[in-house]
């Protein structure tokens, strides 16, 4: 279950009323903006889309929901032309383009706001308009761009205070997102017909998000189309006219928004309803001195502490300082100039491509890299000993491969993740830091890993676990909730519940004066 399902932000309830229904029924005979039929895409052995049909008509806002890895971004990429389907067809406004690609999609008025920053940080807002809109040419393109972007920004986010002559890199994250949205909606000689919004509210606060959603509704009433992707189901329910649910690369439900409720959506997405927490009584382990601690981040919120044998969860909306906390903990307990003879911490990466795997290496080398000290003599790696270690963990954690000497990239994502787990667990460190490592891992692997975690914790190891999956957070003994880079709440035992965590996620951190200027190096 995603961490942000509840309708936390409240706005005037919006039901697809008569006007919309009229448009919907009226639009069914209109030429669809985009029509995807039987689209199949696979990356190597992984099938990302297994035959998707999706029709977007003028005047509708289609909510696209599903878990990570359900294929939402892939279908979006196919629609915006960034990816060509291996099978199936895409037609824009009734005609199949001669050459499927970004240019043809844009020519048919398809615009996209991506989850990650897709503006050039070194350019000003105006210059970004020039890059994003090829139609914006002529000697006076600057003045045209200024007119277009300020007009759109004012229309969508009235009262904004963005200086369009500043470089995008100098803006705050929310401002960048606003610029990006306004750029996509901007009308420069070529009207946008379909705007794809991929998690557009993730960095906006409640009032800005509300402004955006209001704009989406008026835009749709005016005959434009939207594909709206969001993890906040409340937003989707209140904004979309139709909701498409995806799972494992297929469309599993496609109905008018009015027919869904939050519970039905969750069910359609195929979430495993979190089994009741096992009998693990909330163990109180705070008696001894903490094994790890950090002062409040940036002098705000609560300090961090972890005790021996504990599973500590880090929760909150994604990107609110959890990963930074883990990285800080790791850096302050491992040497950058000399390696400690007794490692204090080990780390399991969630973003494998960034700080997890070594792509040129075999599975074995990837697994043993953190514990080379244990399998070498006088700095010479003992290959026999290393292979032994590899076999031991291969059995223990069931890495599915014939040969540990195969390349790491020959494994599926879930198995690569297991290798990273084995790497961290093989280290003799008493503390293991986990940076949302279960993203995109199948349910079977997850259960296996949970089991290993529990038994290791029983033996006295400490796990500090950042997770975006609610059921994982609920396994923990104690949970810290983050907001805007600081710890705002600590939950223990039976207090650890989805509602409590969500409520805490929106608490503002207060400056903890006691520690300011103290130990923050």
């Amino acid at each position: 279950m995603s961490l942000r399902p509840a309708p936390v932000r409240r706005w005037p309830s919006f039901q697809p009323g008569e006007a919309v229904k009229q448009i919907m029924t009226g639009s069914s005979h209109l030429v669809p903006v985009v029509e995807a039929q039987g689209v199949k895409v696979s990356f190597g052995a992984v099938r990302a889309l297994a035959g998707v049909d999706l029709v977007i008509r003028p005047g509708e806002c289609v909510g696209l929901v599903g878990h990570n890895g359900a294929g939402k971004s892939t279908i979006v990429n196919v629609i915006n032309g960034g990816l060509s389907p291996h099978e199936g067809t895409i037609a824009y406004e009734g005609e199949a383009p001669g050459r499927h690609g970004i240019a043809s999609a844009r020519n048919h008025g398809v615009r996209c706001v991506f989850q990650e920053l897709s503006l050039c940080p070194n350019l000003t807002v105006i210059e970004n308009m020039r890059v994003m809109h090829r139609a914006l040419n002529g000697w006076n393109w600057r003045s045209k761009a200024v007119a277009a972007i300020t007009g759109k920004l004012g229309e969508i986010f009235p009262g904004h205070r963005i200086d369009c002559s500043r470089a995008v890199g100098d803006l705050s994250i929310a401002e960048r997102q606003m610029v990006e949205i306004a750029t996509a909606f901007a009308d420069v000689g070529q009207k946008p017909k379909l705007v794809i919004l991929d998690e557009p509210t993730s960095s906006l606060d409640a009032s800005l998000a509300e402004q955006l959603l209001a704009h989406v509704r008026t835009y749709v009433v005016g005959g434009g189309s939207i594909i709206f992707i969001s993890h906040i189901l409340g937003e989707v329910l209140s904004t979309a006219t139709r909701i498409v649910v995806m799972k494992d690369g297929r469309v599993v439900a496609d109905r008018a928004a009015g027919e869904f409720t939050q519970a039905k959506l969750v069910q359609a997405m195929g979430s495993v309803v979190a089994e009741k927490k096992d009998a693990r009584a909330a163990r109180v382990l705070k008696s001894t001195a903490p094994i790890l601690s950090l002062p409040p981040r940036g002098g705000r919120g609560m300090p961090f502490e972890a005790f021996s044998g504990e599973i500590v969860g880090l929760a909150g909306l994604s990107g609110h300082g959890q990963t930074d906390t883990l990285v800080d903990l790791f850096h302050s307990h491992s040497g950058n100039w000399l390696q400690r003879s007794n490692p204090a911490v080990a780390f399991v990466a969630g973003d494998r491509g960034y700080n997890g795997t070594f792509p040129l290496w075999s599975i074995l080398k990837n697994m043993s890299i953190a514990s080379l000290g244990d399998v070498s003599r006088a700095t010479f790696v003992d290959s026999g000993h290393e292979a032994e270690l590899g076999e031991q963990w291969k059995r223990k954690i069931e890495i599915r491969t014939q040969d540990m000497d195969n390349g790491i990239l020959s494994l599926s994502g879930g198995n690569q993740q297991k290798v990273l787990f084995a790497r961290a667990l093989a280290v003799r460190a008493p503390v293991v830091l986990m940076d949302d490592p279960m993203r995109g891992v199948d349910i079977g692997t997850k259960q296996e890993v949970y089991g290993i975690l529990r038994s290791e914790a029983e033996k006295g190891r400490t796990f500090i676990w950042y997770s975006t999956e609610m059921e994982e957070v609920c396994i923990c003994d104690r949970v810290y909730v983050f907001n805007a880079g600081a710890i705002v709440a600590e939950l223990t035992g039976s207090d650890i519940s989805e509602d409590n965590i969500l409520a805490a996620s929106f608490t503002e951190a207060v400056a903890s004066k006691a520690v300011i200027g103290g130990s923050i190096a």
Binding site: N80, G82, L117, C120, P121, N122, E127, V131, R134, N137
Partner: protein, 315 residues
């Protein structure tokens, strides 16, 4: 510090400050330099270095680096000292072909995803070899018109300074104001999103390389105009000078963050640093080393100011 400076102006402030400080130091040591001829002497070699720095900056705009800049400028100088005066047509064709070769290089680097450092390293052998083939021993003569331009004495300010200002204005217009400039800086800043907006990255890169080559060609011709003759190794140090000039001028290796005005100032600073050291009567042994030291001091200064700026922003 109430004044709210944008990142760009801070980036320009440091090189400008270092140039002024250096200039003051020179004037203090040698008051006679504060004259038309004095300035002319100080900035004598500035024009070719400035042009080469601009060329390097264009390559760095698209996140690449050209290690063949010095060899290429030498090659151009050899062509300019042999073909241009005697057979202008053939000379022009050779230079145009060289520019086209740069464009092709840009395409190849992009299409095959090659590291620009290694490819241009290879090209530095090629240009060096061609230069030797054209002009096996030092010699040749400058085209009359190049000589005339480089030795002309405009009123008020010496040629080198007038030319630097013109170069700064023109390149500022091309890189910072024009659509093409926006595009290539966009490629440096976020290639993927430029691509997603429907632009052809290949032609943007090819364009950046061709434009860089054009400036390098001008650098070679200007150099021959100053020295009246050429040899195959005449400008080898320009590779490193041009990179240092861009960095001194506030440019960065990646991210499309460059400043043409800064690059011109950086090149002038490097030229002046050479003259400054001779005024200091530092023994010639230490002149290169002192240049290295100046480079380090300026970079340290920049780091310090960047930190200051970051701290201001953090509050």
């Amino acid at each position: 510090m109430k004044i709210n400076l944008s990142t760009d102006s801070v980036r320009l402030l440091i090189p400008a400050l270092s140039l002024i400080v250096l200039l003051c130091a020179v004037f203090y040591l040698q008051p006679r330099a504060m004259s038309y001829t004095g300035l002319n002497l100080l900035f004598n070699l500035a024009v070719p270095i400035t042009l080469a720095t601009i060329a390097q900056m264009l390559i760095m705009t698209v996140n690449d680096l050209d290690l063949s800049m010095g060899a290429f400028v030498s090659f151009v100088a050899c062509v300019a000292a042999t073909f241009l005066p005697t057979a202008p047509l053939i000379g022009t064709i050779i230079l145009l072909a060289a520019i086209a070769a740069y464009a092709v290089l840009g395409v190849v680097i992009h299409v095959r995803q090659l590291p620009s450092i290694v490819v241009t390293l290879g090209m530095s052998f090629v240009w060096g070899g061609l230069a030797v083939l054209i002009l096996p021993s030092p010699g040749g003569q400058a085209p009359v018109w190049a000589r005339w331009i480089m030795t002309s004495k405009p009123p008020l300010m010496p040629m080198a300074i007038v030319a630097s200002i013109i170069i700064a204005v023109i390149t500022h217009f091309i890189v910072m104001r024009s659509s093409f400039g926006v595009l290539i800086r966009g490629v440096g800043g976020n290639t993927r999103s430029v691509e997603r907006a429907g632009w052809s990255i290949i032609s943007a890169r090819a364009g950046a390389y061709a434009l860089a080559a054009s400036f390098a060609v001008l650098a070679g011709i200007a150099l021959v105009g100053l020295t009246t003759s050429a040899d195959a190794n005449i400008a080898l140090r320009y590779t490193l000078l041009s990179i240092a000039g861009v960095i001194l001028g506030g440019g960065e290796f990646v991210g499309g963050r460059v400043s043409p005005i800064g690059a011109v100032i950086g090149a002038l600073t490097l030229t002046l640093a050479g003259s400054f050291l001779s005024f200091l009567r530092i023994s010639p042994d230490w002149q290169i080393g002192a240049q290295g030291a100046i480079l380090i001091v300026v970079l340290a200064l920049r780091l310090f100011l960047n930190r200051l700026e970051k701290r201001e922003k953090g509050r």
